[in-house]
């Protein structure tokens, strides 16, 4: 870090900031949606800062950062208790490759925002409850007087719709 000029540091900060959602997404996916993704992201950011001087600014930032994130997931996994359900190294590698392939198309965040606007009000409300208010499926189910499985299934359907919508939006923006 000490060898970086102010311009290089500024550029690094900009790229690291722009990569946050992709890094979080990668860690979240590799940890299969576990709640500790934010901790691993924080650790990944620390490692990236420490390695900032090693980064070759002529090369794409995201693949390099995703590799660091993947190693942090592996390190985190070793620290987890044995009863935690985690994927093996081979499968983690396969998922990481697929994630990198999908995230190579940028703009997912903007696409998702547009797709969210198209959801019917009831589905938007459910998204708000789960992600804005951070309520558990169980809490939502109790309030709505529904089975937790039914709420889970509905959330799955919404995520599936959003995933398809995001994919279409990104495909549409790709050059022919």
């Amino acid at each position: 870090m000490a060898d970086m000029t102010p311009d290089q540091m500024s550029q690094f900060v900009e790229r690291l900031t722009a990569a946050q959602s992709a890094l979080h997404g990668s860690i979240h996916t590799l940890l299969a949606g576990a709640t500790d993704a934010a901790d691993v992201l924080q650790e990944t950011n620390r490692v990236l800062w420490r390695k900032a001087a090693d980064y070759d600014a002529t090369r794409p930032f995201l693949p390099w950062a995703l590799t660091v994130a993947r190693f942090e997931v592996l390190a985190h996994r070793k620290r987890l208790s044995r009863d935690r359900l985690v994927f093996d190294d081979t499968l983690l590698g396969q998922i990481a490759e697929e994630y990198e392939r999908q995230s190579a198309r940028g703009g997912a965040l903007s696409a998702l925002e547009q797709c969210l606007q198209r959801l019917p009000p009831a589905q938007r409300e459910l998204v708000d409850q789960r992600y804005l208010r951070g309520e558990s499926v169980k809490t939502i189910a109790v309030r709505q007087d529904r089975a937790a499985n039914a709420v889970s299934a509905l959330l799955y359907r919404i995520r599936s719709l959003l995933a398809t919508c995001v994919d279409h939006a990104l495909t549409k923006d790709e050059p022919a």
């Binding site: 900009e14 946050q20 949606g33 950011n45 359900l85 965040l109 925002e113 992600y131 809490t139």
Partner: protein, 368 residues
């Protein structure tokens, strides 16, 4: 039903169970098997988890967009203002001062009050979007979109996961969740604290342990490693109770909570209130609850609460009220359980020579 049909019906359930943290070992193994062997399902899985991650990451950003614009809103959007971002990052990295927002996403919070903070950007009444907060000194009060009021005391490191969830790595946080914030969650390295409608405090002096203090209402304290919604809490704390959880999840009673006359500047290790009474201990080895003694520096006044968890007050015996020589004295609030325990011994430690008054309940005979 063909194998393909069966896969279609089970895959969503397996993914959902994984995302919800309710997957059994068998379900997890089945999901791993499908992902390992089916390229199409793997791509679908990544698509779904990516959307789930983005929704978590934005913390319901779309929902916030629907809120009417406020004239006082200030957005710190580094992607559109790299110079400001670089400057803010430089402040944190080079000088170790101020706050850093790691991403342009996060939670839009209102700055209610600040004291002794390094940044001049935070003016009371303005709104900023925060994700990670690094506060090297001072204290800040925030209002979250969920209505939750949050006070952060430095040195502090925390992350605003969403409007109902913060993660504290270091520092002291007090939350008053109000009517809408029931279910508010504070994570630390050891615990996940779920509010059940209350005002409570969390102290993380280092990575090794967490202190939880309940001022009003009730909270549930879970092991942070718990993944299943059905997992039982480590403990449930009610008003007047406090607990310390260490890295091995061993719990111990916090015996003292010190503060000024109100809930301000509370501390579980004495603090710097300038008060005369520094600590209170008892000989209870197995108390009925995890109650603490509340030491209020300068807290004795007419109608001052007598106990930590009951509504009784101290009042003067006549219209003249509390005797003038006692007004503004340090007050120790005891707790009502064990009141029939004749073996109870309470030791009060003072910082300098002092006159100690023992106030007796007017319903009982004065001690001989």
């Amino acid at each position: 039903m063909s194998d393909a049909d069966q896969t279609e019906t089970t895959f969503p359930r397996l993914v959902q169970a994984g995302v919800d943290g309710t997957a059994t070992a068998k379900q997890h193994a089945r999901l791993a098997e499908l992902l390992r062997t089916d390229v199409q399902l793997r791509a679908e899985y990544v698509q779904l988890l990516r959307v789930d991650a983005l929704l978590h990451f934005t913390g319901g950003a779309a929902a916030m967009k629907r809120a009417p614009a406020r004239s006082t809103i200030r957005r710190f959007s580094f992607s559109t203002s790299p110079l400001r971002f670089a400057a803010a990052a430089a402040v944190l990295l080079v000088c170790g001062l101020g706050a850093l927002w790691w991403s342009r996403r996060g939670v839009e919070v209102e700055i209610v009050r600040t004291a002794e903070v390094a940044t001049t950007e935070w003016r009371e009444g303005t709104t900023v979007r925060l994700n990670h907060l690094s506060l090297p000194r001072g204290r800040v009060e925030f209002r979250l979109p969920s209505g939750v009021w949050l006070e952060v005391v430095a040195p502090a490191e925390l992350q605003f996961v969403n409007a109902m969830h913060v993660r504290v790595s270091l520092g002291q946080v007090t939350a008053d969740v109000g009517d809408r914030g029931k279910g508010f969650v504070v994570d630390t390295a050891q615990t996940k604290i779920v509010d059940l409608g209350t005002k409570f405090g969390v102290a993380v002096p280092n990575a090794g342990h967490t202190g939880v203090v309940v001022f009003q209402g009730e909270v549930e304290v879970f092991d942070r490693r718990s993944r299943r919604a059905s997992d039982a809490p480590l403990t449930r704390l009610v008003e007047g109770e406090a607990v310390r959880v260490d890295a091995q999840r061993h719990m111990s009673r916090i015996m003292n909570v010190t503060s000024g006359p109100g809930d301000d500047a509370w501390s579980t290790h004495g603090g710097e209130t300038g008060g005369v009474i520094t600590s209170v201990h008892d000989n209870l080895r197995d108390p009925a609850g995890l109650y603490y003694y509340r030491i209020l520096a300068g807290g004795l006044h007419e109608d001052a609460p007598a106990f930590v968890a009951k509504r009784h007050e101290w009042n003067g015996l006549d219209a003249t009220g509390i005797p003038a020589e006692l007004l503004g004295a340090d007050l120790v609030q005891t707790f009502p359980s064990d009141h029939n325990n004749t073996a109870l011994e309470i030791v009060v430690t003072v910082a300098r020579p002092a006159v100690i008054y023992v106030l007796a309940d007017s319903r009982t005979e004065p001690p001989a």
